[in-house]
Symmetry: C2
Subunit: 422 residues, 2 copies
């Protein structure tokens, strides 16, 4: 008896079969295209680094999530946890090769030993783009413009980029008397839920941080009524000059963002009514130095590849994408006619029609048609003895079931409509 | 005193700065385009698998090269060593989702704890494409055709794909009396060096395997004089029907290839006079089952990304590639004219001219020009008070140093020649 155990994948790790891969490749293709059109340059770094490079950068909680181990040479190593530590190392290592301003994008797998749960994985692709060496809010505006163009090019017409300022938030905290750094961060983490939780719940949570009811109430009201500070005003005016449609972005004084290291503007993008952001970032002028890099101002953004793919799938926009590129399958009648089918395939390919030949000459026509159907190939070409004799081919449209005989010479004029661009 | 230690990368691991990344992206872009034009579908799998999935598949020597460790849940895990074990697991796991024939490509990082040496790394990108479920030599011919098209599209005109047959080699070994399986493999590993070492050296090495001088001599002569067997003839005739130019491929009875698991046709591609192959593969009908997958025939190929990039760099073909895509840098005169420069940038971008704006309004023009020069951006647009007054812009060609004033309205007709397509 066959007692073979089925091989398993690790929890929190995923296989991406072709249908899913095509959506991912489409999204990453759009990202790269937009990044490069703005002059961002590609960068990649190792997946493994010395553990000492990775640990002690984001605090104890994050350290526990880093996959560390001893390699075969007894070195303490770790799988990268994000792309910020690696780029900080790169900025430190290649001071001569990299001149500032440096605009880079980096798309790589990272690993975190988190508790696996819905939408959270132990291995995922991080998609970052950042500008190093520019303190001007023009750089922040450009980051926002890139998010805007990526979401537009992905076909979303209901996204919103919320923009706020960390200094503005801190000034409000100080105004209501919250001046201690740790208390400020704790309060911000609660305020961050302003769009997710009812206000009473928030005030309740805030009171637990040793704040009076009236302070809490005043704080929330002030935050909601805040107007943009000068720096934010400049960003908004730059966005206008860049021609971004105003319905897609707004100043939102309630935006906080979770990470503590932001020092200036912060931003986040959502699509539709979802609370989960598809992009988030901001300015982090002190972080690169803390991470082991040089003292350079920095601003940037992380795109949520998984979240974007999920929305595309939910909306069915992915249906157009998750089928093979192939437009035509050339079938094989039998072993004696392989060469004829091959020549026809080559001819169609030379006409820039994406054409595949079925690879098993012994397979029945029915099986060949099923293959085309499964792969979403719209046209099948049949080339049997009758067709050879009359110097024609039979073209079958699998979507309609219709078929017609076409002269070989007329093939150049046949319109193989691409299903992806109908 | 600052006693900060410069962070190091691990030996055998690499950073890819933008210039190198552009070459890599170009090569991978060509690969994907060709793979998909032949109907190969993308697949990705986890970087970490249970150690039990990875070990015991390629023998003890390979097992020692797998990065294994205990994860935080005390599971024995490992970084993938190749893409064949993962695809075997995928074929076993998704029997219902994946119907045969299955043509997939997979481009992922893999890890091997090898002794680092020139051209050998502990982390590298494996670029595989394979056909599962087809026993016909038509599938082998298609794999060869894909290699051919990739190398053509990369711009190589001096490549050669060598084709041979493992069964043919074994039949010769049996004919000279070498019938024991292990001895056969040992002999083949020596014969593999026929194109690299002098014949006397080979005979010397062969004699150490308990063979007489006359057997060795007869073996080498037979190999060199062998003609294609029936299966190889069919592959060659398919290639002809596909329209592959004959100067780019040949039957080569001296080709052995290192890996022991091949069961049918084998092939290898070299560029120029180099002995190092840029692509290698063959048929391996029993391997997927051995690796834990179903019992399916398989044929495929691995492309040598690093080797291909190296040749492109050596030949200077990479010069065209390793510069930014940006065609125009719009400079900023001062803070008061940022909006003017932004609007101009947006206008050029809407004309599909890849345009960047310099992001620091306080930087001197000289610094802005240096940035364009370093990035290989050919044109710089200057927009100062004089230009604003006359409703013109100054366009400077950094390659020639020439500059001219152009009316804003005439910009649409200005030919920004793309340096990458000159």
């Amino acid at each position: 008896m066959n007692k073979k155990i089925k091989p398993q994948t690790l929890k929190g790790f995923r296989d991406f079969l072709p249908d899913e891969m095509r959506i991912r490749n489409f999204v990453l293709g759009v990202c790269k295209e937009v990044f490069e059109s703005f002059g961002f340059e590609p960068l990649e770094t190792p997946s493994l680094e010395y553990a000492s490079t990775l640990l002690g950068k984001y605090g104890e909680e994050a350290d526990r999530l880093v996959y560390t181990f001893k390699d075969r040479g007894d070195r303490e190593v770790g799988l990268i946890y994000d792309l910020t530590v690696p780029v900080s190392r790169v900025l430190a290592t290649y001071r001569d090769e990299i001149s500032l301003p440096f605009k880079r994008y980096q798309i790589q797998r990272v690993w975190r030993a988190e508790k696996p749960q819905k939408g959270r994985f132990r291995e995922f692709v991080q998609c970052d783009f950042d500008i190093f060496g520019v303190a001007s809010p023009l750089a922040d505006a450009e980051i926002i413009a890139v998010i805007y163009q990526v979401l537009k090019k992905l076909g979303f017409d209901d996204f919103k980029i919320r923009i706020n300022s960390r200094p503005l938030l801190f000034s409000i905290l100080e105004e209501v008397g919250i001046t201690e750094k740790n208390q400020q961060l704790e309060v911000l983490r609660i305020v961050d839920k302003l769009d997710k939780l009812p206000e009473e719940k928030l005030i309740e949570d805030l009171q637990k941080k040793n704040l009076s009811y009236s302070t809490c109430d005043r704080l929330l009201n002030m935050i909601k009524q805040t107007v943009p500070d000068e720096n934010t005003e400049r960003i908004l005016s730059y966005l206008q000059a860049m021609g971004l449609e105003e319905k897609y972005y707004c100043f939102d004084p309630t935006l906080v963002r979770g990470l503590d290291y932001y020092t200036g503007p912060i931003f986040e993008a959502v699509v539709g009514d979802s609370k989960n952001s598809v992009a988030g970032g901001g300015r982090y002028d002190n972080l690169i130095k803390q991470m082991g890099g040089p003292n350079v101002p920095a601003t940037g953004c992380s795109l949520g590849l998984d979240r974007i793919c999920e929305i595309l799938s939910e909306r069915g926009s992915a249906n157009k994408l998750n089928q093979a590129e192939t437009q035509v399958l050339v079938t094989i009648f039998d072993e004696s006619l392989v060469d004829e089918s091959l020549k026809l395939t080559t001819m169609l390919q030379s006409m820039d029609v994406f054409t595949e030949i079925y690879l098993d000459p012994s397979a029945k026509l029915d099986k060949q048609l099923k293959y085309a159907d499964r792969k979403g190939i719209p046209y099948v070409v049949i080339l049997g003895p009758d067709e050879i004799k009359s110097n024609k081919v039979t073209i079958k449209d699998l979507r309609t079931g219709e078929q017609e005989m076409v002269g070989r010479k007329d093939l150049v004029n046949f319109q193989f409509s691409n299903p992806n661009f109908q």
